[in-house]
Each structure stands twice: as structure tokens, then as C-alpha cells.
Amino acid sequence: MTVLFKLFDITKSYGERQVLNAEHLEIRAGNIHCLLGPNGSGKTTLLRVMALLTTNDTGDLEVLGEQVSWQPSQLLLLRRQMAMVTQSSFMFEGSVFYNVAYGLKARKKPKKEIQKRVQESLELLGMLDFIDAPARYLSGGETQKVAIARALAVRPRVLFLDEPTSNIDPSSSLEIEQYIKHINQQYSTTIVLITHNFFQARRLAQQTSMLWDGHIIEQGPTRDMFHNPQDPRTRRFIKGEY
């Protein structure tokens, strides 16, 4: 199976404080890979490094088969194969259509194709009725669905999801989980999912990496990790002691 991300000894510090020290991580194509861990464990920093939004201080970073050089032309080329949804997704001023069409317009796609893909993406998420609505008037759950549709419209190879359901109610959360599964299965999109909800990790991810104080303390198939955690900290986290 193709490996889309290879990370070796990636570190990141803010001032004196080291927030990330990931010795080794591989993300395989077609998987849902979960980054699990408590608040402040370095999950978001790791995701931002992989999404090429934050530079690493040291280490080797290989993304989509390329050694990252941080040259703007390379960043554009790589980022155009990715998309991201965060926990409270930012919506540009304007309609839902404007937001979902944004990535396609940036790629200078023909108008007809933009129209078609925006409609398809919104339809998949059950949001087509909102196409002309102002994006900033949507509820939390609706915003997240539009954000997923917006990411999906650009047909990414990799979709980063940074706690996409942490700000919404349980039923909307489960609904979004279904969409995440569907996107992974239907389009073979590789998904890197951050969560601190281990039930969600178990429902969605084939692979999980457990982070603690910036380190990856354990990783492997999600099922194994939940049934037989190797690290005592993982065990305690799963028991809900953190």
C-alpha cells in the first residue's frame, strides 16, 4: 500500500517549549488514520506540519512521495491534493455556493464544472437547499457539513479533519461520521482525523497513533490498540482517566 506521509524525528518548538517530537509516523493511502490524545499532546501541530501549514524545526518530512522543500511552487502543488476541515470551520463572507466553489475557482475550473461539482458536493452532504444561504448564518452542524462539502469539491487525495465534530451535538456528530466513512470508501480519500474521543476513533479509523506530550507513544491498527493497549498511558486514556 502506498505511503502518503513519512515523518522521521519531526520536532517543533515555540520558544523554549517543545510541542512536538514525533519519532516516526507513516500514513498509508486509502486509510482513515486517527491521531488520538489529550489536549495539548501535539495532535494539531502534527497535523499542521503534515498539511504544510506549520514548518517543522528538524526531521525529515515526505509528503505524497516528495521530500518537502517548502518552496511556494511545491507547497501549492502538494496542498492542491489536500483539504482540511477544522473544529469550527472558517466560512468566507458570502454564500454557501461562494464557499464551496472557492477551491475550484482558485484552480480556474470552467464555470459549468464548478456549478456541477458544488451541487454534487452539497447534495452528498444533504445541504443543497442551503446553496444560496449566507454561509455565516448556518448552525454549527450545518457549517461543518458545508466545510466538508467545500473540501470534497476539490476532490482531495488527503482530507485532514481536526476534531470536526467536537463543537456539534451528538446526532449531527454521528451524521458527519457517516459522511466521513462514505467519503473514504466512495472516493478512496485518505483521511487523517484528529480526535480526543476514542469512541469516534474506534468507529472510524483503521489506524491510530496515540500522542502524549508531543510524542507518539503507541501506534497500530485501531482495534488492537483498544483491545490490547501496550503503553500504560494509552490504557489509562482509554479508561477515561485523562
Binding site: L53, L76, R80, F90, Y102, A106
Partner: protein, 239 residues
């Protein structure tokens, strides 16, 4: 009280009379201030955006200079342009002194810091997620920066509105470099000064009313443009 009443009456009569000289003075006021505003906008918005987004040595110093120049006294702006354009000045050979061009240059000098400084503040108030969202959707750096400007447009329009208010109403700079020459460089504000000096208080007040109406109409136009582009923007509800 009588002077004010008389002034209002005279102002209305002046508007109704469609006096050719007054029309010419009004049009020149508009031409000078609007040209200066467009130039200040074309220079100030990119400069403000650059200062807000680019980190380099001396950035803070430049920003502080711009913030200070936002309060530049018009007479001083006029004096600087006067010295530069006077026969002994570095650009004396251009022969621009006492022409509308000199007045525009002086007003650009006044408008630029306002537009650049306030645009910089508007862009700085945007959060990192605007850029992140844009680039993660495949925007180039330029496209992402344009999106940041688009998100800041409420503040940028406020900057242009503030600059227009300052330019249309200022007298010191245009008087200094324009010279208030009848039929050539006389604008509404310098007319008010002249009429007051000649003891025509009511006429001066009348012209003042015309100036006020003009400023109001320009602001209305800008606010209308603003409203059109923000029809779906939420406002804070105080209950």
C-alpha cells in the same frame, strides 16, 4: 443667529441659482479630492496590506510613522509639497505649483497614511484561519492574500470613507499649493476662507452648506456600496 439663518437661505439660493462659477468650484473640489482618494487608495491599500502581512526589519517603525502621519496637519502637508514643487525645490521644473495637480499631490500625502494605516489595522484584525482556509482549498499565495483583503473590506471601506471626509473638507494644503486662484485652483473650502475674509459671512456659510451636502452625498454613496457588499453580514444585536 441672523447670520446663520441668512447663510442657510443663501446656500439654498446658491444651489438653486446654478451659478457657473460655483459649479466650476464644486466640480474642481470633487475632481481634486476624488482623484486624490483614488490615488491614496491604489497606493494605501496594497501598502497597508503589505505592512500587515509581511514581517521584515523596520516594519514596526514604518507602521508607527504611518500612524503618526495619519494626524499630519494639512498645512504642513501643503508646506512640504510647496517646498518640493517651488522653483527652488527638487521638482520645481515640473511647474506644478498653483495647479490642481499640486493640490492632488498634497491631498494624496494627507490621504495615503490614513488609507494605509487603517487598511493595515483592518488586515491585521483578520485571523490566521482566513489564510489557512484559502491555501488549504488550493489558493495561491496571491489568491489567499486577495481573500484576506476581501475579508477586511469593511475596515478598508471605513478607511476610504475617513480619508474622503478629511480630503473634501481640508483647506490648509490646497490653499498652500493651489493658491486659491479664481477659475483655476479655487475649491469650496478655499472659497469659504475667501468669502469670510471679504466679510461675506452668509455666502461663506452658504458655500459651507454646499460642501456639507457634497460630503454627505459622497458618504452616502460609499455607504451604499458598503451595504451592497455586506448585505449578508451580521451585526451585533444588543438586547
Amino acid at each position: 443667529m441672523d447670520v446663520i439663518g441668512q447663510g442657510v437661505k443663501e446656500g439654498i439660493l446658491l444651489i438653486l441659482s446654478l451659478d457657473p462659477e460655483l459649479i466650476q468650484v464644486t466640480l474642481l473640489s470633487l475632481q481634486v479630492s476624488l482623484t486624490a482618494l483614488v490615488a491614496a487608495g491604489l497606493l494605501g491599500i496594497p501598502a497597508g496590506t503589505f505592512l500587515a502581512l509581511k514581517n521584515f526589519t523596520g516594519r514596526k517603525l514604518i507602521l508607527n510613522i504611518i500612524y503618526t502621519l495619519m494626524g499630519l496637519p494639512p498645512v504642513l502637508a501643503g508646506l512640504i509639497v510647496f517646498l518640493v514643487l517651488s522653483n527652488r525645490g527638487p521638482l520645481g521644473e515640473w511647474q506644478l505649483l498653483f495647479t490642481p495637480s499640486a493640490m492632488i499631490i498634497a491631498q494624496v500625502l494627507l490621504g495615503f497614511p490614513l488609507v494605509a494605516g487603517l487598511s493595515a489595522r483592518a488586515v491585521m484584525s483578520q485571523r490566521q484561519e482566513v489564510y489557512d482556509t484559502a491555501v488549504m482549498l488550493g489558493a495561491t499565495r496571491t489568491q489567499a492574500v486577495l481573500s484576506i483583503i476581501r475579508e477586511s473590506r469593511m475596515g478598508i471601506i471605513a478607511a476610504l470613507t475617513t480619508a474622503m471626509g478629511r480630503l473634501i473638507a481640508e483647506v490648509g494644503a490646497v490653499m498652500m499649493v493651489g493658491g486659491n486662484i479664481q477659475g483655476k485652483t479655487r475649491v469650496l473650502t478655499t472659497s469659504i476662507v475667501l468669502e469670510t475674509r471679504m466679510g461675506h459671512d452668509s455666502r461663506a456659510l452658504g458655500i459651507g452648506i454646499i460642501l456639507l451636502i457634497l460630503a454627505f452625498m459622497i458618504m452616502l454613496l460609499i455607504l451604499k456600496l458598503e451595504k451592497r457588499s455586506f448585505k449578508d453580514d451580521s451585526t451585533i444585536q444588543i438586547v
